[in-house]
């Protein structure tokens, strides 16, 4: 393996990791400030200007809290669970292209703005996010607590059900792009001066299904049943404290960022946009702007919608979203044969 490539990957991984962790940290602040704004209150604004140092304070607090392990807990699984939910959440970002190829000073070849690109990209991301469920299930089982167990069971059922609808809603995009490679999917949306996004050019239904199941997949309101605090105390992380809880927290927010990035790449054209062909530097900015839109949507949903009941959630996933996604596949296939 050439050393140059190894160095390139390492640098990209480091940059990606730092950006992801910073985004996660400031997303929590953004969420609390936005919720405060929507609920006519201040939100955290004391630490630093506009509360900008709040994530640092939170991190310090997490580290210095007492680390509690319940006596009856299954020790090995109890420690493994947070790690198993965090690692897949961080891994997925390597496949997301945040920009096109770019010339960088002192390097004679163009550098692509993604860590790696594989020909089964979309499936690989689904596989990695699918592994994240085990962290939650393990936490629920290992805590030896009925609320945790219920939370873990609910979450496994919910995540598996909505993963189906989510993967089915992507099939339309794959049919249209003719590839599972995320880089090629983005390249396919470059027409109409960078505005031929899949959401406009015949995947609006798929986009809506993806959007709903993406919120369910990340365990966010109104689908946050695994941790429904009014009935299950805190669900699967009832017994967790200190850094172990922080790892679940980071995993949840990293999953939100990844899901937003996926939605951007698959439906909103990734880094494509007007003027990118002339000025490639605009690409990452478009990408970040679209991603922020989805992240804002998450917070908006949390502030506006009440939580669903468990049977409503299951009915909605299996009896409404999944058939709709299947219909979308049939429509997409027909249109793809006729138009493309």
């Amino acid at each position: 393996m050439p050393l140059e490539l190894l160095v390139e990957w390492t640098i990209k991984l480091l940059i990606g990791f730092v950006i992801l962790m910073t985004t996660v940290a400031y997303l929590s602040l953004f969420e609390r400030r936005m919720l405060g704004f929507m609920q006519m209150r201040q939100g955290p604004n004391r630490v630093g200007p506009f509360g900008l140092l709040q994530p640092v304070a939170d991190g310090l607090k997490f580290i210095f809290k007492e680390d509690i392990t319940p006596l009856a807990a299954d020790k090995f699984l109890y420690v493994m669970a947070p790690a198993l939910s965090l690692v897949p959440a961080l891994m997925t970002f390597v496949l997301i292209p945040i920009g096109g190829e770019m010339k960088i000073p002192f390097i004679d070849r163009p550098i692509a703005l993604h860590v790696t690109s594989v020909n089964v990209g979309v499936l690989a991301i689904l596989a990695m996010t699918g592994m994240g469920v085990y962290g939650i299930v393990m936490a629920g089982y290992a805590s030896n607590n009925k609320y945790s167990l219920m939370g873990g069971l609910r979450s496994s059922a919910q995540l598996v059900s909505y993963e189906l609808a989510m993967s089915m809603s992507i099939v339309g995009v794959l049919l249209q792009a003719g590839s599972l490679d995320l880089v090629k999917i983005v390249a396919n949306q470059g027409g109409w001066g960078g505005m031929q996004w899949h959401v406009f050019w015949f995947q609006p239904l798929g986009f809506i299904i993806f959007l709903i199941s993406m919120v369910a997949e990340t365990n966010r309101a109104p689908f946050d049943l695994p941790e429904a605090e009014s009935e299950l105390v805190a669900g699967f992380h009832t017994e967790y404290s200190s850094m172990k809880f922080a790892m679940f927290f980071i995993a949840e927010y990293a999953n939100m960022v990844t899901a937003s990035a996926m939605a951007t790449v698959l439906f909103l054209g990734g880094w494509q946009g007007p003027g990118v062909a002339q000025l490639p530097l605009l690409g990452p900015f478009y990408f970040v702007a679209k991603m922020l839109f989805f992240l804002f949507l998450y917070i908006w949903l949390r502030a506006s919608l009440p939580r669903l009941r468990y049977d409503q959630l299951m009915d909605f996933g299996w009896k409404f979203l999944l058939p709709l996604a299947l219909i979308n596949i049939v429509i997409s296939a027909t249109v793809a044969v006729v138009l493309l």
Partner: protein
């Protein structure tokens, strides 16, 4: 030793370690988690064999869906350490080890007859290639499995359903 061989030994270690752990664990949930480790190791091996598609499908279907079902059932029935030890009164159980050794010996004997060091073809298992073959040349088995899955769904629902008194 080349880079590929080191990778193979690493992944094979994960696979065999996980498989041995499936046998040695008393708690079914631990067995299930060990099996997931095995599946992830196998997926890595598939990728080294240029079968990227099946490597990913292995994780999505096996590790993601099938094992999730197992874990879900184990948690639903809430079994903790229920796997009973080997019953010493059943002397036939002790035959398992020599029989296993004979099976392994026979299989390895066959393996030594195969001496192919280099791949004869170089095309990997791309999505296009698998898809095209599956939907043209092998359409009948593909459709047959869809019927099988439907039957399994109906059968599973019927078996697990609580009978109304």
């Amino acid at each position: 030793m080349t880079f590929e061989q080191i990778l193979f030994i690493l992944f094979a270690g994960i696979v065999v370690g996980g498989a041995a752990s499936v046998l040695l664990q008393r708690n079914p949930l631990y067995s299930a988690f060990s099996l997931i480790t095995t599946f992830v190791g196998l997926a890595c091996l598939y990728v080294t064999l240029k079968a990227q598609f099946l490597g990913v499908v292995q994780i999505v279907v096996y590790a993601g869906a099938i094992m999730m079902l197992f874990v879900f059932v184990i948690m639903l029935l809430n079994i903790r350490d229920e796997d009973t030890a080997v019953d010493p009164n059943r002397f036939l159980v002790y035959l398992t080890i020599p029989l296993g050794a004979i099976l392994l010996g026979a299989l390895l004997y066959v393996v030594t007859k195969v001496n192919l060091a280099q791949p004869t073809g170089d095309e990997g298992g791309t999505v296009e290639r698998i898809g095209t073959n599956l939907l043209t040349k092998y359409l009948l088995p593909f459709e047959a499995t869809s019927v099988l899955i439907l039957m399994a769904v109906v059968g599973a629902l019927h078996l697990a359903k609580r009978e109304k008194e």
